[in-house]
Symmetry: C2
Subunit: 196 residues, 2 copies
């Protein structure tokens, strides 16, 4: 899971123990109720070491389950854009992560394992709701922000499924820029437009 | 799988044999290359009986894999609408099927089994491409109709995933009419609008 740098012998074992404890804690208690403190105790390390290695609970979760994006990084990137360009910026940022290196394999594996494992599904749902939707919702500034954010999630999940899991042509092979231009306005309308 | 009417003893066994032969043939040869004739031979029945029970290859496939909609029925229903209302009509028709009876369980089971079984995935991809996308593509009348249709598929798959598999609130519990009004214009733009 973790790159060995060779500089710190023993650390990759510690990292793996933390990730393993994190996976168990998230599965047992869900994303919201799992704590860094409890995960550290389970891995028999100091909570400060968990923070040192992984930063936040969000980043630890992303590392533990192979979530191919740290949502707050992505959202930071997007909210530097003009609010009218959020939709296209979000699609472009996601495709850049998924189309690079083993991103496609990671998102496909995550979707498959989530869909066939109830504990993973519960974690995924809570993580999407608290770490992604709520932030997007706050950024959109609408009363019905939660509903808007779940519409965004539906198109993002469907795009990942069609491009990386079902590999439906021509969407599977179309250039990222073309897809961002086509799907961006959908996300934009769900975030800030008229819904019906 | 099949409702027993009680009027025709032995027929439910024959139907089950046909469905079983169909599942094997579609898995081995794919949707496009499997034939009613070969499926009938495999089930040791006359091809006319397969046609009598299931009509077309499309309907046989839908029955065999539990596909919760017969695409040509749905498309017939939609194309009676004004072309500018296709998007909303499609979403409304799909949600009506999925929200009724055991439709939600069927679509969730289909998505799960498709995602975890390569043979099912190949069938699903071919079926979506030939029975759904190509018809929608022809109806939209654009040069890039295949690309447009795969965008439609991405939003439809994502909607089914978010509402019935991940069960992401509030999309999981929102009234169908509200979702059709919100997602319909997305489908409409993918079919006939400007893509970027």
């Amino acid at each position: 899971m973790t790159a060995r740098t060779g500089r710190r012998p023993g650390h990759s074992g510690t990292r793996e123990a933390i990730l393993d404890a994190a996976r168990r804690s998230f599965a047992e208690h869900g994303y919201d109720r799992a704590t860094i403190r409890a995960i550290a105790a389970r891995a028999a390390v100091d909570p400060a070491l968990v923070h040192h290695f992984y930063g936040t609970k969000e980043k630890l979760f992303a590392a533990a389950v192979g979530f191919p994006v740290v949502p707050s990084d992505l959202i930071g990137q997007i909210t530097r854009q003009d609010p009218e360009d959020f939709g296209e910026a979000l699609v472009r940022a996601l495709l850049q992560v998924w189309d690079t290196g083993d991103g496609a394999g990671k998102i496909a594996a995550l979707l498959r394992s989530t869909l066939t494992n109830d504990a993973m599904m519960d974690m995924f749902r809570q993580f999407v709701a608290s770490a992604i939707l709520s932030v997007i919702a706050a950024a959109s500034g609408h009363d019905d922000a939660g509903y808007r954010a779940s519409l965004v999630a539906s198109q993002v999940i469907g795009l990942a499924m069609a491009r990386y899991v079902v590999r439906l042509d021509p969407l599977a092979t179309a250039p990222a820029g073309e897809i961002a231009a086509a799907v961006g306005p959908t996300i934009q309308r769900y975030l800030t437009g008229r819904l019906g």
